[in-house]
Each structure stands twice: as structure tokens, then as C-alpha cells.
């Protein structure tokens, strides 16, 4: 395999809330390789979102060290992190975080406005199967459709990594599956490294690798013998 996309050593994150300290991450080491589909599992509060946010440059660790390819993320200032996000990372969140006052196409255009070599907004929407709904506002779309717009928005910049925090958390079973299919397709066809947080162990069947977090540490790593397609999994 080629050089790792992400390389983390001893990642620690401590939140201070007055007197109390919350240890969200307690020394995480990991390497993630180009094109991998990673599923992050773990109980609530185990530090999944914290880890993903640090990898995505939304947050900085208290101690430890992260690299993205040749970029050192630890110690980077806000401006560098912003550029890193703008050029390399696509995010998908549980609650979509679309701009309600912009249509599907315009939400995607938010990214194409600032990215270096983006794909056209309608092409990104075609990718997620919403090529017909360009001019609909978020309020006119179902939850799953909104999430697919969010995915289109994330991939429009042709990111190297796609980071998804519980993308199906707010969706029903069928819709959730549809969204996962889109992510898997992007991973497979565009070769985008994907990292998906979920509470749903069944989804791990789709992964190249499954990382288990517990109490701020990586407590397990599995490689499914056979990678399932989203259609094959059920929960």
C-alpha cells in the first residue's frame, strides 16, 4: 500500500470545563490509507466526533501529532486549517447543515465558489441522484434528500477525504441505505478516502477497515473478510 493519507500519533484531547477535565481522546495512534473506507464505531461519548473533527481540521488536539499527506495539522493556525479544509476535506454531518435560504444547487455552489478545481454543482448533484431537484430549497426536500445534497456539497470540491459524522443518524432505514450507497459509490468510483462514524455495527460490513473507539482510545480494529455493498447489509 502507498503512504498513509492520515498519520496520527498520541492524539489527546482534553476539554476543560472549569474545575473538571473531560478526556475525549487519550492517546490515539492511527494510519489511514488512500482510498480506504473506514467505519468508526463506539459508544456515545467515546470520542468519535472529536477524532473526526481533528482529522478534518475543525478542531485541534491538546497533545499529539497529526499529518495529512505532507501537511502537519498539529500546530497549524486557523488560516492554514481553513485552507486545508477548503482544498482537501469534504464533511457530512448528522443534521445536514444546509443553508435553508439556498437551493440545492446553490448550497453546492457554496463550495464550487471557493474550491480550486471543483466539479460543476449539477454534476455533484447527479452523483447523488438529485440532478432533477436542483432548484429545490432544503425545506422542500426530505431528510435523506437533504443529506444527499450535503454529500454533493462535500464531494463537489473533489476532496481527497470525505468525513461523515453519523450521516444516517437522522434518517430511516431505507433512506439511510441510499445515503450509504452514495458514499460507497464515491469511495469506489472517485477513490475518495471515506471515514464514516456510525452507531450502527451493521454498516461496518461495507468497510475496508473498522476502528472501534472506547473511552478515548482505539480499542479494536477489524478488517471484514469480504466488503459488502450497501444493498447487502441490513440492520
Amino acid at each position: 500500500m502507498s503512504a498513509p493519507v492520515f498519520q496520527a500519533r498520541g492524539l489527546t484531547k482534553v476539554y476543560r470545563m472549569g474545575e473538571a477535565e473531560v478526556h475525549a481522546l487519550r492517546g490515539v495512534d492511527l494510519e489511514i490509507f488512500a482510498g480506504e473506507f473506514i467505519v468508526l464505531l463506539g459508544p456515545s461519548g467515546s470520542g468519535k466526533s472529536t477524532l473526526l473533527n481533528i482529522l478534518g481540521g475543525l478542531d485541534t488536539p491538546t497533545a499529539g501529532d497529526v499529518r495529512f499527506l505532507e501537511h502537519q495539522l498539529t500546530g497549524a493556525d486557523e488560516a492554514e486549517l481553513t485552507r486545508y479544509r477548503r482544498e482537501h476535506v469534504g464533511f457530512v454531518f448528522q443534521f445536514y447543515n444546509l443553508i435553508p435560504s439556498l437551493t440545492a444547487q446553490e448550497n453546492v455552489a457554496l463550495v464550487t465558489d471557493i474550491a480550486v478545481a471543483p466539479m460543476p454543482a449539477h454534476e455533484a448533484l447527479d452523483w447523488v441522484g438529485l440532478g432533477e431537484r436542483l432548484d429545490h430549497f432544503p425545506s422542500q426536500l426530505s431528510g435523506g434528500e437533504q443529506q444527499r445534497v450535503a454529500i454533493a456539497r462535500a464531494i463537489a470540491k473533489r476532496p481527497q477525504v470525505l468525513l461523515c459524522d453519523e450521516p444516517t443518524g437522522a434518517l430511516d432505514y431505507e433512506t439511510g441505505k441510499l445515503v450509504l450507497e452514495v458514499i460507497a459509490k464515491i469511495n469506489a468510483e472517485l477513490g475518495t478516502t471515506a471515514m464514516v462514524i456510525t452507531h450502527n455495527a451493521a454498516i461496518s460490513g461495507m468497510a475496508d477497515r473498522v476502528l472501534r473507539l472506547g473511552n478515548g482510545r482505539i480499542v479494536g480494529e477489524e478488517k471484514p473478510a469480504r466488503k459488502l455493498t450497501p444493498a447487502e447489509i441490513s440492520w
Partner: protein
């Protein structure tokens, strides 16, 4: 167009009512600013232009009778470019059907050769023919005030002889832009300026080969001080009454005060508006930014730098500001030309000229943008600086705590609804404070704008019921023995007579000097009293002079100091005079002495120059008719007529400003209340919808939301009363008060009116929002996450 800008447009559209209501507050501020200051500069310009084209004199002097040969000497005064001499006399004037006597100021002119100074503008008819005896031109103000027609005749008492004069023309003069017999009151109905052939005037008053009035124009860059001194010196042997520079010329002085008031109005009140606008903008943006926390987080995750996001919200603020500025410039232009027109009519400037200088627009827009950006940045700062990861998390649920009343153990007195209202208030004290401050500001602005009517009323009441209590004042042509009072007492209808003596004087202290009159009062004076601003009567100090505080300040003297008095009459005594005290009088630049002391100072016998009369209402007419036949009674003023004219003039102005300010204040009140209600509604829609689902009626949930605003309005109004009082005090403090210093008097009705206007505006905007509450889309609201 960038997607972020598209979002901007949509957000603006979504909040259009709020955007417009804030823009209107800004527009009022800018409009007031531009309107007042452009009026100020337009009037200054109009006056300057008028003075220049009419070649208005720089120095003015009168004397008793100086030989024409003196004119060459006048021209030789250093710094003097031109000098003109003329004959000017006041005389009694009668019009058919007008009982109270009027005064005509007759000014001799050579109509064959237009004067080099104080040139007239002919408004109608023609000039009197050179040498024609019975023809006059009249000042336009008098013609209009009296509704006279050209060709009409009137009777003037010329040196004891009644003469019929025919009006052939009407004219404007820069010398009588503001025409008055004296004092600071407009006097158009009772004071006429008549221009008449100079030879016939001179002949009537035995002034051939002589003059009694001097006008000087100075060389460029010379100040009037030196010329005034030299002129006084030259005229002294001929009974000079003391020269004055332009700044002390009556018409110019009053004009200056009126014009300068615009400047104060134009800066103090708009500042309040801009402050309120900045606060509302801050609150609205705070809400906007907080509501869009998730969107901001998403933008950050997408790689938008903080700066871009901040700029996005600043653009939102700019849209509002620019809309406000555009409306404000338009409003300011309208207001400015309306006010300039009002004043141009009022002053009878020959030309209407309105100009709005570009710097006003730039300064207004700049100040507003700065204030708005200040408010916006404070709101944006916190959220934009959040780490993206934090912004992603919804804000922690608001913390509530038991109310103060509950902590004190009186909680059970409140219903749950009342508790919700009160807890909301306690939770966001700053916002509640801003709301209260905003509403209070609108009350204050209204009060500070309309209390002038009260101040004027009070001033008139004090001036004419307590200070000058005489109903009819008589001024004698020459000082007469005190015994003249017995003759006055014998006239029909006279109930009481009180004599006094006034001697024109130039007072000096060091290099400062002021030309006024010393008035000597009887020790038991009842009809003319000396009252300070608190209506305490001041006591005359034997052997000393009592000065109006303004005059003492102008001369920079204090009680105990000695000033030089040069009497400008009779023996023209020069003597040191002790300042016995100063009294904070509302009007005038007065110097008071005991009548005996004044006559002693003048080294004259027991003389008087005028008298105040109390009159039987029924006998007034007969008395006035009788007085017209007494040549010695040169000036007769009926107090009532003065008061009526003053009321009429001020009523028009007060009404105009009251209307404008009422609209402005209502705009602020609506801006504050409406925006607040909308924000509350947006923030609590979920809560209110839940309550509706639980079975609360529309009325009940409205009370929850609007109850808070009701409390805030109720708290703000009394606060606004206090703020209005102080704002009025501030305005008064800034106002020029060379002529009259108005008292800080605000009648209860004014408070009541201001409170009612603002309460009504508040209720109206609450009702608009109530309509929205009623139409709350329950399903829609409950589906959204926020």
C-alpha cells in the same frame, strides 16, 4: 453571483420588514442630520449671498444730529471702505381700524441714486418718485402681516403733524430681515419700515444738512472693533448713541440665533437616532448570527475563512445601512428644502436657495456605517470566532433560574405564564436593557423636540405676567420730569402708573464693551420686576448696577468689580460703576439701577423716560386713542399685541417640528418594539408552538410573548421621561442664548403626549407581530430543529 451573496439577498428578503424598520430609524437619523445641517448651511449661504448682493453694512450708528460735513471724516476712519449717512426717525403710524398704536421707522433715501449699502429689493409696485413728498415704500413683512394693498394710504405723525403717505411699493431690506421695535420678538404687525424721499423727511424733522444714522462698510479683513471706537468718538459731540458691529445689529443677531439652532438640532438628535439604530442592529444581528450557528459551522467546515463569514454578515448590516442612508438622504433633502423654504418665507429672503453639500451625505453615511458596523461586529465576533467544531454543536440549552421574587419566597404570587415572562426577562437582561433604552430614547427625543412649546409658553407667562407686568408701555420722546406720571394717571382707563428711566449706555470692562441701556426703577416697582430663572426677585443694590448674568459674562465681570459706563445721552457722563450683582434673567442684556441713582449718575434732576400702565379693559381703547394725540408719548406698546404675534409665529414652527419629531419618535419605537417581537417570536416559536399543541389559546401564547414587551414599554416610558428631561437640558445648554435663554420647563401634557405616542407605536407593532403568532404554522415550526 456568489452563492454567499445569494444567501445574503434571501436573508434580507426573509427579514424584509425588520430590515425596513431598522432602515427607517437610520433614515430618520440621517434625515434629521442632513435636513438640519443643510438648512443651516443653506440659510448661512442665503444670508451671506443676500448681504453681499445688498451690500449690507458692517457697522451701524445713530446720533442726534450730526452735520453733513462730518461725512468726509467718517470716510477717513482707518479700515473703512465706504460710509453713508442718512436720516432715520421713528414715528407713530395709524391705519384705519387699528386701535393699538404702531410705529413706523422712516428712512430717508435718494431714490434717484440707489444707496451704496443696505440696498433694497423691490418686491412690488415702484419706488417713490425722487422728490415726491407723500410716497413711501414699505417693508414686505409689514405689508403681508397687515394685508395691505399698494396705493393704500396711512397716517404718520411727523414731528407733531399728521401726514398722509401713499404706499407705492414694497421692498426687502437686509437691515430688517427680522423687524422689531426692540427686544427679541417678531413684531411685523406693529412695526413698519417706510422708505421715503430723503429731502422731505429731512424737512419734516428739521434735519436739512444733517444726518442721524451712519452705515459703514469695512475694508476686507478688518474687524469692526476699531471702526466702532472711532465712530463713537466722532459722533460723541453730536449725541451719538453708540455704534455696533453687525453681530450686535438686532436683525442679524436674531437671525444668527435662529440659524445656529439648526446646527444643534442637526447634531444632538441624530446622534441619538444613530445610537439607537446601532443597538437595534446589534440585537438583530446577534439573533441572526446565533440562529445561523449551524450554517456558520457548515461554512467553516467547507473551508470559508472567518473573514469571509464576518464580511457576509457585515454585508447584511450594510444593506440595511445603505437602504437607511438612501432613504435618509431623500428624507433629509425633503426636510431641508421644506425647512429652508419655511425660513426663507419667514425671513423674506429675496431668493430661495437650498443646497445639500456632499460632505453631509458622506459624513452621515460614514457615521452610520461606523455605528452599525460597531453593533454588527460585536454580534458577529463571538460566533465567528468559535472553533468550527464548537459551532457545530447546538448552543447549550439556556440556563434559567428562579426569579428574584421566587427566591424571596413570593413566587406563588405569579402565574406560570407570568413566571415564564419574568424568567425570560431575567435571562437576557442586556437585551431587555437595550429594548428599554431604545424605547426610552424615542420618548426622550419626542420630549426634547416638543418641550420648546412649553418653554415658550412659560417664557411668555413669566415675561408678561411677572416681569413686564404693564399692559401698556409708553416711551417718551425726551426725558421728562417725574411729575409726568400724574398726567398719565389722569388719562382715561389708567389704573396704575409706574415710571422708569432708561439711558443708552456703553459699558466697558477692560477691552470688552457692550452697548445697552441702564434702566432705573422706582424702589417700589411693581410693573417692571427683575426676576431670575427661578422667579426670585432680585434686589436693586443702592449705588450699584445689577447686570443680567449673560451681560456680566460677556463683559467678564463679577459682583464687586467696577465697570466703565459711558452714558450716550445728555451730558454723556463717563463714570465708574460698581457691579452690585448679576441676575440670571431669561431675556435681554439688561443693566438695572435705582431710579434716583441713575439720575444721580447722569447728573440730572428727577427725570423719567417711560412708564408702564395698568389699564381698565374697557378703557383701553379710549386710552390708546388719547395717547395717539400726545406727541410726547412717542412709543406706545400694548403688551397683548406682542404676545399674540409671538404666539402665532412660534405656534407654526412648533407644530411643524412636533409633527416631524412625532413621526421620528414613532419610527424608533416601532423599530425597537417590532424587531424585538420578531426576534422573540423566532427564538421561541418552538416553545410557543408546543404550548399551542398543549392546548394554549392564541391569546394565551401572545401574552407570553408580548407580555414581556409590555413590561419593557411600561418600564421604558418613565425612564424616557427622565432621559427626555436631560436631553432637553442638553439641547438648551448647547443652544445659543444671546437674546433669550429659554428655561427648562416641560409641562405634564408633553410627557403625557410623548408617552402616549410611544405606547401607541409599541402596541401597534406588537399587534402586527401578534398577527404572526396567530398564524403560526404549528407543524412547520415543530419540524424544525432549532
Amino acid at each position: 453571483m456568489k452563492s454567499l451573496d445569494r444567501k445574503l439577498l434571501r436573508d434580507v428578503w426573509l427579514l424584509k420588514t425588520q430590515v425596513v424598520s431598522i432602515a427607517l430609524v437610520i433614515a430618520c437619523g440621517i434625515g434629521g442630520f442632513i435636513g438640519s445641517l443643510s438648512t443651516h448651511s443653506s440659510l448661512l449661504w442665503s444670508r451671506q449671498h443676500y448681504y453681499d448682493t445688498a451690500r449690507f453694512a458692517h457697522v451701524f450708528a445713530t446720533a442726534k444730529r450730526a452735520p453733513a460735513s462730518l461725512a468726509t471724516k467718517l470716510r477717513g476712519i482707518p479700515g473703512v471702505a465706504e460710509a453713508e449717512t442718512r436720516v432715520v426717525r421713528d414715528a407713530q403710524l395709524s391705519l384705519p381700524g387699528v386701535v393699538p398704536p404702531m410705529i413706523a421707522r422712516l428712512i430717508g433715501l435718494d431714490f434717484a441714486h440707489p444707496p451704496g449699502m443696505n440696498r433694497l429689493t423691490l418686491k412690488g409696485g415702484r419706488w417713490p418718485a425722487p422728490g415726491a413728498k407723500g410716497e413711501v415704500a414699505v417693508n414686505q413683512r409689514f405689508l403681508v402681516a397687515r394685508g395691505l394693498k399698494l396705493g393704500q394710504t396711512m397716517t404718520v405723525l411727523l414731528n407733531g403733524k399728521l401726514e398722509r403717505l401713499t404706499l407705492v411699493g414694497t421692498a426687502l431690506s437686509p437691515e430688517y430681515i427680522y423687524a422689531t421695535r426692540g427686544g427679541g420678538m417678531p413684531d411685523d404687525e406693529w412695526f413698519a419700515v417706510l422708505w421715503i424721499d430723503e429731502r422731505s423727511l429731512a424737512a419734516a424733522f428739521n434735519m436739512e444738512g444733517a444726518f442721524n444714522s451712519v452705515l459703514l462698510r469695512l475694508q476686507h479683513g478688518t474687524s469692526s472693533g476699531v471702526a466702532v471706537e472711532a465712530l463713537d468718538h466722532l459722533l460723541e459731540p453730536y449725541g451719538g448713541f453708540g455704534a455696533v458691529g453687525r453681530e450686535d445689529q438686532v436683525s442679524d443677531k436674531i437671525l444668527t440665533q435662529e440659524i445656529n439652532e439648526q446646527k444643534i438640532f442637526g447634531t444632538v438628535l441624530p446622534a441619538v437616532f444613530l445610537l439607537v439604530a446601532a443597538f437595534i442592529l446589534n440585537v438583530v444581528l446577534h439573533r441572526q448570527v446565533n440562529a445561523q450557528r449551524g450554517e456558520i459551522a457548515a461554512l467553516k467546515a467547507l473551508g470559508y475563512p472567518d473573514r469571509d463569514i464576518a464580511v457576509h454578515y457585515l454585508k447584511f448590516a450594510s444593506v440595511i445601512v445603505l437602504l437607511g442612508v438612501a432613504l435618509g438622504v431623500w428624507l433629509g433633502h425633503w426636510l431641508g428644502s421644506a425647512m429652508t423654504g419655511l425660513y426663507t418665507d419667514f425671513f423674506h429672503f429675496p431668493e430661495f436657495h437650498y443646497r445639500m453639500e456632499p460632505w453631509l451625505v458622506l459624513a452621515g453615511a460614514g457615521a452610520t456605517l461606523a455605528a452599525a458596523f460597531g453593533g454588527a461586529l460585536a454580534a458577529i465576533h463571538g460566533v465567528v470566532r468559535l472553533r468550527a467544531a464548537e459551532a457545530l454543536r447546538p448552543p447549550a440549552p439556556a440556563e434559567f433560574r428562579p426569579l428574584l421574587v421566587e427566591r424571596l419566597g413570593y413566587g406563588q404570587l405569579l402565574t406560570p405564564s407570568q413566571r415564564m415572562i419574568m424568567r425570560n426577562l431575567e435571562r437576557k437582561p442586556l437585551r431587555a436593557l437595550i429594548t428599554v433604552a431604545g424605547i426610552a430614547a424615542s420618548v426622550a427625543i419626542l420630549i426634547s423636540g416638543i418641550f420648546w412649546g412649553d418653554a415658550i409658553e412659560w417664557f411668555m407667562d413669566v415675561q408678561f405676567n411677572r416681569v413686564q407686568r404693564a399692559q401698556v408701555s409708553v416711551g417718551f420722546a425726551e426725558a421728562v420730569p417725574r411729575a409726568a406720571r400724574w398726567e398719565l394717571e389722569r388719562l382715561p382707563g389708567v389704573k396704575q402708573v409706574e415710571v422708569q428711566r432708561a439711558i443708552p449706555v456703553r459699558l466697558r470692562a477692560g477691552h470688552r464693551s457692550y452697548r445697552t441701556a441702564i434702566t432705573g426703577l422706582a424702589d417700589d416697582a411693581q410693573l417692571q420686576r427683575i426676576l431670575d430663572a427661578d422667579l426670585h426677585a432680585a434686589k436693586l443694590v443702592p449705588g450699584a448696577v445689577l447686570l443680567t448674568t449673560r451681560l456680566a459674562e460677556r463683559l467678564a465681570v463679577r459682583p464687586g468689580d467696577t465697570i466703565q459706563a459711558e452714558l450716550l445721552e445728555g451730558e454723556r457722563i463717563k463714570a465708574g460703576l460698581r457691579v452690585g450683582g448679576s441676575v440670571d434673567e431669561m431675556a435681554g442684556m439688561n443693566a438695572w439701577m435705582r431710579l434716583e441713582d441713575l439720575n444721580h449718575l447722569a447728573r440730572e434732576a428727577d427725570l423719567v423716560s417711560g412708564a408702564g400702565l395698568l389699564v381698565d379693559r374697557d378703557g383701553e381703547r379710549a386710552l390708546l386713542e388719547r395717547l395717539k394725540q400726545i406727541p410726547a408719548a412717542a412709543v406706545v406698546i400694548v403688551t397683548r399685541t406682542l404676545v399674540d404675534t409671538f404666539r402665532e409665529t412660534s405656534a407654526k414652527n412648533v407644530l411643524f417640528f412636533t409633527t416631524i419629531l412625532t413621526v421620528f419618535a414613532a419610527t424608533i419605537a416601532v423599530g425597537v418594539v417590532y424587531n424585538n417581537a420578531r426576534i422573540q417570536l423566532a427564538e421561541r416559536a418552538w416553545e410557543l408552538a408546543s404550548l399551542r399543541v398543549l392546548g394554549f389559546t392564541r391569546g394565551e401564547v401572545s401574552v407570553l410573548l408580548l407580555g414581556e414587551l409590555g413590561l419593557e414599554i411600561a418600564a421604558a416610558i418613565p425612564l424616557g421621561f427622565v432621559a427626555g428631561f436631560w436631553l432637553a437640558a442638553l439641547l438648551l445648554w448647547f443652544m445659543p442664548h444671546d437674546v433669550i435663554s429659554f428655561p427648562l420647563v416641560i409641562y405634564p401634557g408633553t410627557y403625557l403626549f410623548a408617552g402616549a405616542v410611544v405606547a401607541a407605536a409599541g402596541v401597534a407593532s406588537a399587534l402586527i407581530v401578534r398577527n404572526r403568532i396567530d398564524n403560526l404554522d404549528l407543524v412547520g415550526v415543530l419540524k424544525t430543529r432549532e
